[in-house]
Symmetry: C2
Subunit: 157 residues, 2 copies
C-alpha cells in the first residue's frame, strides 16, 4: 500500500495532534510557545513529516539536514540527514507507516543518521541501517545507526 | 539515608549486571566487545558510577566531561558534565538512589547537562535542573536540562 507523506506545518491543529505521540517534548512545547508569542507565523514550515489516515495524523518523523562540517562520522565529510521522533500511534502500528516515512527520507539521497532504541533495532536493520563503532566522546550513550545511499562511498571514522 | 557511590570498573561481572537495566545499548555492547578482544583490560575505568545494595547493582549513571570548546550552550564557554543512563532497577525505585547519584555528580562542581524523558522532568526539576531554549540544529529533538553550581555565572546562548 502507498501512503502519502506530507510536510507538516506548524499550527495549533498539528501541535494538538502531536500530543497523541509519546515523544512529545521540548521541541513541540517550543513550537507552541513561538506560535503563541508570534515569533513564528501560523502554518510555518516544520521539520516534521507525517501521514494522515483520513483526518487523523497516525505517523510522524523529524528530519534535519546536518552540514558536512558538523559530521564526526565519516570521511570525507558529507551532509547527512538526522532522523528523529519516528513514531506511529498505537492502533496503526505494523501497517507499514513507519517504513513509508523512512523510505521517503531515503529518497532525498543523503546518508541518514538516527539514534535507535535497542528494542527497535530489528526494524532499523530491516530498513538497511547499520551500527557505527561506538565513540563515547561523540555518542555519549546513544545508539547511532546509519543508512547510506547506493554507491555512496565513505570511510567510517 | 547515605548511599555509597562507586566508580564502576569494566569487567564481565559489571557488564552482566548492566543487562538488568533498560538502557542497555551500544555503549555496553561496545565495552563487552573491547573486553573480549583484549582492546581494554579487565577492570578498566568506565564512565559509569553505581550504587550497590549488598552484592546487587541497583542504580547507575554515566558521566563524561565535555570540553569547553564543544560547549554550544552558554557563554563564556566552560567545561560541563554530560550525565546519561541514570537508572534505578524497578524494585529499588523511590528510595533516593537516583537522587544520591545526581548529588554525587553535583559535588564535582561543574555544570551538568542531561537529556530528560518528559515523564522524568519532575524529578529533574526537584534536583534543580532547568530547561534551555530549544534550538533545533543543536538539540534535534532532545530535551536538554542543565544544573549550575552555586555562584556559577553564565549567559545562555
Amino acid at each position: 500500500m502507498e501512503y502519502k507523506v506530507e510536510k507538516l506545518k506548524v499550527n495549533y491543529k498539528t501541535l494538538e495532534e502531536f500530543k497523541r505521540f509519546k515523544e512529545y517534548g521540548l521541541q513541540e512545547l517550543s513550537m507552541l510557545e513561538d506560535l503563541q508569542a508570534n515569533i513564528i507565523d501560523n502554518d510555518s514550515e516544520s521539520p516534521f513529516y507525517g501521514i494522515y489516515f483520513g483526518d487523523l495524523l497516525v505517523a510522524r518523523m523529524s528530519l534535519y539536514k546536518v552540514d558536512a562540517k558538523f559530521n564526526r562520522y565519516f570521511e570525507p565529510p558529507h551532509d547527512f540527514l538526522e532522523l528523529w521522533k519516528l513514531e506511529v500511534i498505537p492502533d496503526y502500528q505494523g501497517k507499514g507507516y513507519g517504513k513509508a516515512l523512512v523510505e521517503f527520507a531515503k529518497k532525498m539521497n543523503l546518508p541518514i543518521r538516527t539514534n535507535a532504541r535497542m528494542k527497535s533495532k530489528d526494524f532499523w536493520k530491516k530498513m538497511g541501517f547499520e551500527s557505527v563503532t561506538y565513540d563515547m566522546a561523540r555518542d555519549r550513550g546513544e545508539n547511532p545507526l546509519f543508512w547510506f545511499p547506493e554507491n555512496f562511498s565513505q570511510k567510517e571514522i
